[in-house]
Amino acid sequence: MFEWGPVILALAILMFGVAGAAILTWWERRLLGFWQDRYGPNRIGPFGAGQVIADMIKLLLKDDWVPPFADRMVFIFAPTAIVVAMMMGFAVVPFSPGVQIIDVNIGLLFFLGMTSLAVYSVLLGGLASNNKYALLGGLRSASQMVSYEVFMGLSLMGIVMMTGSFSLVEIVKAQEDVWFCFSQVLGLFVFVIAGIAESHRLPFDLPEAEHELTAGFHTEYGGMKFAMFMLGEYLGLMLIAAMIVTLFFGGWMGPSLVIFGINWLPPVTWFIVKTIFVINFFVLLRAAIPRPRYDQLMSLGWKIMLPITLLNLVITGAVLLWSQEGVL
């Protein structure tokens, strides 16, 4: 018996992912404008939302050009990698009870694996462009992402210790009483920062820092190939936000509102509301915090993030042992 549920859900994620990323480009610019006391795009359509369609038409009609000095095969392959990896990452996200493409007992590791594969997009894009700015951007992203991956993985191990499983459904169920954002404050702190660094968004967008590297790894990209990089970045943003909600803010958990025997606030609404809230928080960070220097970014990682995660692991382990055995 072939199950259609996951297939329909996968198609829905594909559609909502691409549409959501497109809308997010407009939403982010509007929010940034709001926080910086200006308007942002407000000319086309209601509230300037038509800007999304205008951008899309522009990107689709642009000449699809590969520079003659670039490594053609790798140049074309690079932008697809990030989109595919980020889309695959959504496969393990539990949107609400039973609404999930696949519940594997390595869900968390699968997510980490997919985010680490997304690095190749930036790396190969920078290398294939055969351009010094692109190469420098790629180099930066490689060391930045390999470093922050370490803390990203380690910061989640506290949750795994408390749940006793890598399965994301189990992790959400373990937050029935207390969300992990209270018991794993340090883990949340590190995961949020590592998440921004992994999706290389401002303030941590040093691979494409335009004040020093033109546009970094995507200097040579234009048209739809450039749009794929952007799509991947916004998918990554949504994926990280969804994971933060799943891991630290109780996933689909929330009070239900039953009137006439129908639940007017099904679990999935809570999931979406929380995710949108986290995405807006990321945009606020982008508006509020300036970009650090590259060496500051790396020393922040290794000198502050790593000790904090290790401390978090030791404390979590000690508290768990203490509460289990009842010694002391």
Binding site: V74, M114, A142, S165
Partner: protein, 168 residues
């Protein structure tokens, strides 16, 4: 039956990608094929009931170690010169000897596999089982590996020290 078909698909992808990884002259292309080969091996691990090993294969090998390989290739950025040297290494008189010797080993291995009956493992190995095995019977191996990593860390710190002293 489906699992068997999936296994053979993944295995042939792994073999094909590995052969291509060896014969490409451009280092980046070779690395991409090697990454594909590692991903195919992760699929095989998943199929034979070791999801944890599959995840680690992706996170550590494909996601971290190969990134460092690409990083080094980018740092060196050999270009045409590197391709020419690579092309020289692919001449038959260089690889023929090792190839014949490994062919002998392959025949031996195939013979040995044909004498073993049934699959080597059964059932699925959960992350918990791996953890219990690592910190139970194999704890010495874990400790030795951690010591090896520590020595690597100290060594790289020593190499980087002169840059630290200079204040860079």
């Amino acid at each position: 039956m489906l699992e068997l078909a999936l296994f053979y698909i993944a295995a042939s992808v792994a073999l094909f990608a590995t052969v291509l990884a060896m014969t490409r002259t451009k280092a980046v292309h070779a690395l991409i094929y090697l990454i594909v080969s590692l991903l195919a091996i992760a699929v095989i691990f998943f199929l034979i009931g070791a999801p944890f090993a599959a995840a680690l294969e992706i996170v550590i090998y494909a996601g971290a170690i190969m990134v460092l390989f690409v990083f080094v290739i980018m740092m060196l950025n050999l270009g045409e010169k590197g391709d020419a040297r690579e092309r020289q290494l692919l001449q038959p008189h260089i690889w023929l000897g090792p190839a014949i010797l490994s062919l002998v080993l392959l025949v031996e291995l195939l013979y040995l596999i044909s004498t073993v009956e049934g699959p080597a493992s059964s059932g699925s190995v959960s992350p918990k089982d791996v953890g219990l095995a690592l910190f139970g019977p194999y704890v010495i191996a874990v400790e030795i590996a951690s010591m090896l990593l520590l020595s690597g860390l100290v060594g790289s710190y020593h190499l980087g020290r002169r840059f630290l002293d200079r204040g860079l």
